[in-house]
Amino acid sequence: MTQQVPDSRAGEVTATSPASGSPTPAGRPHRTEPSASDDAARRRLLRRQRRSRWDLKLSPYLYVSPFFILFALVGLFPLLYTGFLAVHDWNRAYYVRGDFVGLDNFVWVLKDPVFRTSLVNTFSIFLMSSVPQVLLAVSIAGLLDTRLRGRTFWRMSVLLPFVVAPAAAVLIFGSLFADQSGVVNGFLRELGLDGIRWHVDRWWSHLAIAGMVNWRWTGYNALIFLAAMQAVPRDLYEAAALDGAGRVRQFLSITLPLIRPTMVFVIVTSTIGGLQVFTEPRLFDDTPSREGGADHQFMTTTLYVYVKGIEDQFYGRASAAAWILFLIIVAIAVLNFTLTRLLTRRSA
């Protein structure tokens, strides 16, 4: 790919590699022999060598340091600072930190009925989005993993919803699922059914929100599954076919067990994402307060953190809530990880 590099550089070398071990490489004597004293030249060479050795030793750290410095600033520091905020009292009026209060904020948050509602909502939306999403994505990937005509076209089409930002997606779905004028309710009425109050009824609102999440991410996950499926050796299918296994059987007993690592990956990442839904519940709200419906019926915990921390400026309580959610996410991710491994191993 880049074969031109070694020879094109041959003429314009500045320092010798310490790895090469020879202090005076052939081919460049004209640099050391001219004018001045031999001594000065040797000193210059030594200096270069030393610089080169430092170059070799320090460069890796230099290359990774921008990431770690910036990350420490905008990633690690906030992470620890949330913990600090969570165990202190905050005087809202003057932005000053109050006393150390231990776990008071955690207790307050756990007793707050709005927080509990938000936790239930978060789980409900998460389940309604992740489970159908993974199932559908695997099926779509199975369909794509055939010798299709126009492969690129199909793959790109599947990804189309991914370019629509969540904020735009909520507005679109908000119109489709509008309680009065929405098309979905229009069709339901046409069928002789009652319209559903998508923005008012708790579980229906969760379903609408989960629908938006699924819409945006199913194709994306299908492509990830597809990539894993394409790595499955084709002769396995041929052998199975000779043994009389049909397409569906092949999919269940060859493809699924072999894409297990990807399954774990997708389920864990969709857990981390699915438990932090924010844009959809905030913008789906058509009441002015924007706290996930008049009765917080679709307020998620991340939205709770935003309302408490940024709008109401209860830093301690918001941070406690953020930590509780974080611990739940970790717990569920680990649980999912073990469960998925166990289940797929058994089917293998």
């Binding site: 790919m1 590099v5 070694p6 550089r9 070398v13 500045t14 320092a15 490489p25 170059d55 460069s59 890796p60 750290y61 290359y63 990774v64 921008p66 910036l70 990350f71 905008v74 906030p78 600072y81 949330t82 779509i140 369909l143 055939t146 299709l148 690129t152 793959r155 790109m156 089409s157 599947v158 990804l159 189309l160 919803p161 629509v164 930002a165 735009a168 507005l171 679109i172 119109s175 489709l176 509008a178 098309v183 229009g186 819409w215 994306y220 990830i224 599954f225 894993a228 394409q230 790595a231 990807t262 981390i272 924010f278 953190v305 935003y306 940024i310 830093y315 918001a318 953020a322 974080f326």
Partner: protein
């Protein structure tokens, strides 16, 4: 013979086509409703073809929100983050993939671990940080948290492990290239495809983000927070869906254009990241 041939039949095409049409429908819907008047949009059965009122609605959108300013802000922030992420991730990814140094595996483990840290955890402290340094309501505040990403470092490392042969690096070193020069002349050319994909990913990620600009900005808007304002103004007695959806469609057009131009790379990138990740 026929069992070995995996050429799909009508059923496969039919199911795929149904799925694709279903996923395209909401987007199509936003353009249909966005190009009708408010009254037409509220009819049932709804219009199924685009109407002739898009420019009218678009002008209303431009009157309601500062669309062009929001578009410029989104462009600036997304580009700044994408350039920064690509640069620092390539540098760090190269070091992790190809250079031996003490502590590299521990540091890399740390990078992978940080990928799993949820963003909501940092919302409040980042807000306080930006407020204390008087950065709130600036574009810098929007860009800062995404100047580097753990995913970027991980992605570039995975790519560079295979993309750059060790012999090539050694050869460059033998010829006396400094480390930086080796990086520049050997690693960067080989990394170019992955850099393009990472640029695309980061750009889209920052562009579509709603939560952080909402926290960091007050009077200014990115496209996403501007939509927020649009939805609120639409909430009179009855929402003007024609206006709201015209805005949603307009805000989606830039990424749609990007998708038409670079969708193929995006697909490749997602599939590559998956196999190696």
């Amino acid at each position: 013979m026929a069992t070995i041939d995996r050429r799909p039949g009508f059923l496969v095409y039919g199911l795929l086509a149904a799925f694709v049409l279903g996923s395209a429908l909401p987007l199509y819907w936003s353009f249909v409703i966005g190009s009708h008047t408010k009254a037409e949009a509220e009819q049932f059965p709804p219009p199924i073809l685009p109407g002739g009122h898009f420019w009218e609605n678009a002008r209303k959108v431009l009157d309601t929100i500062d669309f062009w300013q929001a578009l410029a802000n989104s462009l600036i922030v997304s580009t700044a983050c994408a350039v920064s992420v690509v640069f620092f991730s390539t540098l760090a990814g190269y070091a992790f993939a190809k250079l031996r140094f003490r502590g590299s595996s521990v540091l890399m483990g740390f990078v992978v671990l940080t990928m799993a840290v949820p963003v909501q955890l940092a919302m409040v402290p980042l807000f306080i940080l930006m407020r204390d340094y008087r950065l709130l309501d600036t574009l810098a505040a929007v860009a800062l948290p995404t100047l580097v990403t753990a995913f970027g470092v991980f992605f570039m490392r995975q790519y560079l492990v295979d993309a750059v042969p060790d012999e090539l690096i050694e050869a460059a070193r033998m010829d006396g290239c400094t480390m930086l020069r080796t990086f520049w002349t050997v690693a960067v050319p080989a990394a170019r495809p992955a850099m393009a994909i990472l640029f695309l990913f980061t750009f889209m990620q920052v562009w579509t983000d709603y939560m952080w600009p909402l926290v960091a900005l007050d009077t200014k808007n990115t496209l996403q927070t501007a939509l927020d304002a649009l939805a609120v103004t639409g909430q009179g007695q009855t929402t003007d869906h024609a206006l709201v959806l015209a805005g949603a469609g307009m805000s989606t057009l830039p990424l749609l254009l990007l998708f038409v131009l670079a969708g193929r790379q995006l697909v490749t990138g997602i599939m590559q990241g998956a196999v190696k990740g």
